[in-house]
Amino acid sequence: MPRLLSYLLRRIGLAVVTLAGVVVFVFLLTHTLPSNPASLRAGPLADAELIHKYEVEMGLDQPIYVQFARYAQEIATGNLGESWKTGQPVRQELGERLPATLELAATAFLIALVIGVGLGVLAAVFAGSWIDQGVRLYATLGAAQALFWLALLMVHVFYYTLDWAPAPLDRLTIGVPEPPLVTGLFTVDSLLAGQFSTFLDALNHLWLPALVLAFVVSAPIVKMTRGSMLDVLNSDFIRTAKAIGVPRRSVVMQDGLRNAFIPILTMVGIVFGYLIAGNVIVEKVFSWAGIGQYAWIALTINDFNAVQGFVIVIAFMYVGINLAIDLAYGFIDPRIRLG
């Protein structure tokens, strides 16, 4: 596969350039805001002398290009610097919180994909019927929903009123020990350790925030699937397939869906952005200690390194996912040349 390899290298090269751009951009953004982290670190009870001492310690007294050079050097060696607020390495802090975010986002994404594609296909197959109307209503509601409000409402209904969901306090019930660390995903780690009750507890905490997030994220997937599916179902080759007597189920699921998948796949990359933005909100409401909450706090106090670290991690994931999607095109549709 020399062609695939060269494509891969080219894409990776492009990804590196993109990430470098992200680093420069976020660095400039945080450093040009009218805010002095040294002053914030010194607290309200400060004087110019103490603030200056911290500026020197944090390297903020240096020209911005020197600061950038230092930061770039850190990044190149895989460090993200220290949070000035906690004094801990940002890489460690993000590392501790990333699994919580991934577990929530991945679960929400899977749910959204199943719901989104399922409803989208249904709506397309029964286009114009009441099913179609219902699905379109769902998609409109999902797209129009203020996630913050929805999350609060769901907590009120499922936790406070119905008592079906556990207290919205992070990932496990108070007092339940975390499973031995392997992946950091509690559902996975608890199963690996054979702790079935911990697994159930983790799942119990996961379903409601994941559903809330999935509802909003599934809306664009529904719309895209429906539209794409309709196009395909109305195309010549489907008509031909129907005409020669291929069973309807086979036409829809094999020929139709496979061909409709390309725009859906494109959508998936975009949906990832929704997921991360939505995560910040859902994590806040459910006291979910993921990187979204971490970034939010860091942003309000201008903890430069923490904010930069978060953006870089997200950028990595974004670039990685889009790279994977591009590669996936080739497998779904051989017509797309990797060149």
Binding site: L33, P34, L50, T86, L152, Y160, S287, A289, L299, T300
Partner: protein, 559 residues
């Protein structure tokens, strides 16, 4: 100084009796010796360690670190208040209904007793021989010496506090023997007890610090950010950053087990206010902090919930920068003060959970008076006339900067806007993220003067004393004097207030100081002094308010 100080009180009756006897035996001092304690928290019944002995608190913030000498989050100060034992502390007075409030009297904490020389310069502390760190090593005068050294020469901001007790060098601190420490102030220091009672001067173990110090980190800050060798009532037994911290009684704490009304405090980070309320309503947490004012009335009506609210001297104000147009004319500052709808702000912004302080020295701080505050009687015509005299007959336009995270401040800005409109002044409310807000507030012009014209800020002096309040906010050239007040007479008053130990003289000085600030300089529009609010389940009691407004966990218990 912003924020809390530390004084803990306490206690088991036995320890108390011992303390009073000790004080009487060793304090032949003409000045104030620790007064006998009249009221105290009752000793706790033995608590079981199941749910009945566990207090779960939903916090509105996270502990960033627990290094006692560096500035930290409010939650961080709550944590350290329970980890570090200062030499002395405020005496607590039982208010009934499970509420205890610190008074202006000081009693021994890490020190069994102390004496002050007649001229108010020499402080001699007799340490407890039974006090130990969490690791079992005794707390000696050397440890308090090291703690002061760390404060004076170490990493953080504490030198800004020690200045108030006229101590700037370790030459002024002497270890007389293992259990006697002598501090000699360079001049009489009215505020020495207040400063020494602060949690930030709670004992740090020298041996522990030395064991974790490195060449790059001589004060072992890295270690103390996430660890402690507690000299105070609690130890942290579980640290899960961003999620949960578990506090359990320090088995070596000198006050013994009767001091504790719980056997475990679980600190949970719950960033969303609505979620905290839901958790409290459902009974999944016992205490919720940071409940929005607007929701309190409804919660108070809930029989399962109790709202504790106690007045504080935290002063929210709109600052007007005296060196920036148009506020460089005092008539403009007065006119603006006359048109703010003060009562509407109390009613609609903090929903009655607080009052207008009418002075930078709010009710609850010694020497408070609001007799100089007459702006609420001002009329639109008077204000217009003042503006015309100042050369603004048609008003002006100005930006009012507030931090967007604080809804009460954003709301207050809107009320100021509506009041200003009545005299033709257009106020543009500029709500910014707190980091940017602070950046603007710290901003300086070419003469090293703060240059933000109009902003809403708040100030709380940990020591709860007018000397602090005047110094931080109105002393010439002080970093935190954001409105650039600089008044010769006030300078002298501030100096005298800091030195004088005579209550009558201080009263007089502070009164004149308040007159200057409220009537003559007019740097602030007084908005509100909010109450300290804690929402709990109705079976929870034991709320202790020291003048640093941090939660002392030992008092919290379930009926």
């Amino acid at each position: 100084m912003k924020s809390r100080s530390a004084l803990f009180v306490s206690v088991s009756l036995m320890a108390l009796v011992a303390m009073i006897l000790g004080a009487c035996g060793t304090a032949p001092t003409p000045t104030e010796a620790p007064a006998p304690v009249v009221t105290e928290a009752p000793p706790a019944e033995p608590v079981g360690c199941g749910a009945e002995g566990t207090i779960i608190i939903a916090y509105d913030g996270d502990i960033d670190h627990v290094e006692p000498m560096e500035f930290r989050s409010i939650a961080g100060y709550d944590a350290t208040a329970n980890l570090y034992e200062p030499l002395i502390q405020q005496e607590l007075v039982d208010q009934g209904d499970g509420v205890f409030i610190g008074s202006e009297k000081f009693i021994g904490a890490g020190a069994e007793s102390y004496e002050v020389s007649a001229d108010g310069t020499v402080y001699t502390f007799h340490l407890r021989k039974d006090a130990k760190f969490a690791d079992g090593t005794p707390i000696t005068a050397n440890d308090y010496y090291y703690t002061l050294k760390r404060a004076l020469e170490g990493p953080g901001y504490i030198t800004l506090l020690t200045g108030f007790m006229a101590v700037s060098s370790m030459d002024q601190v002497e270890v007389v023997d293992d259990y006697t420490l002598k501090i000699t102030a360079s001049q009489p220091a009215a505020l020495a007890e207040i400063i020494l009672s602060f949690q930030v001067l709670g004992a740090v173990s020298e041996a522990t610090a030395t064991a974790h110090a490195t060449a790059d980190d001589p004060w072992a800050e890295t270690f103390f950010r996430t660890n402690s060798n507690s000299s105070g009532p609690y130890i942290i037994t579980s640290w899960n950053a961003g999620v949960e911290y578990v506090f359990e009684p320090n088995p070596n704490y000198w006050r013994g087990s009767e001091y504790f009304h719980n056997c475990k405090v679980i600190f949970r980070v719950v960033p969303d206010a609505t979620t905290r309320e839901q958790l409290l309503r459902a009974g999944d947490v016992d205490v919720a902090l940071g409940v929005p004012y607007g929701d309190l009335k409804e919660l108070e009506a809930n029989p399962d919930i109790k709202i504790y609210h106690v007045p504080t001297t935290r002063v929210y104000h709109a600052g007007m920068n005296q060196l920036q147009k148009p506020f460089d004319d005092v008539r403009v500052r007065k006119a603006m003060s006359m048109v703010v709808p003060y009562q509407a702000i109390i009613d609609n912004v903090i929903y009655g959970y607080g009052a207008n302080p009418g002075s930078p020295i709010a009710a609850g701080m010694v020497t408070h008076t609001d007799e100089f505050f007459t702006y609420d009687q001002g009329t639109v015509d008077e204000a217009k006339a003042l503006l015309a005299e100042a050369g603004y007959p048609n008003g002006f336009t100005v930006d009012l900067v507030v931090p967007q995270e604080d809804q009460a401040r954003v709301d207050s800005a809107t009320w100021i806007q509506s009041g200003a409109a009545t005299i033709g002044v257009t106020v543009n409310v500029n709500a910014l993220p707190i980091a940017q807000f602070n950046g603007l507030l710290d901003g300086m012009d070419e003469n090293s003067k703060h240059n933000l014209p109009f902003y809403i800020f708040e100030w709380y002096s940990w020591g709860n004393d007018p000397a602090f309040q005047f110094t931080w906010n109105f002393k010439c050239g002080q970093w935190t004097n954001y409105s650039n007040v600089c008044n010769e007479e006030l300078e002298q008053i501030i100096t005298d207030l800091t030195l004088s130990r005579d209550p009558a003289e201080r009263e007089e000085l502070s009164k004149r100081g308040q007159e200057i600030v409220v009537q003559e300089e007019v740097p602030w529009i007084y908005l509100y002094a909010p109450e300290w609010v804690i929402a709990t389940r109705s079976n929870v009691s034991g709320i202790a308010l020291f003048n640093d407004l941090t939660l002392r966990y030992a008092f919290l218990g379930k009926k």
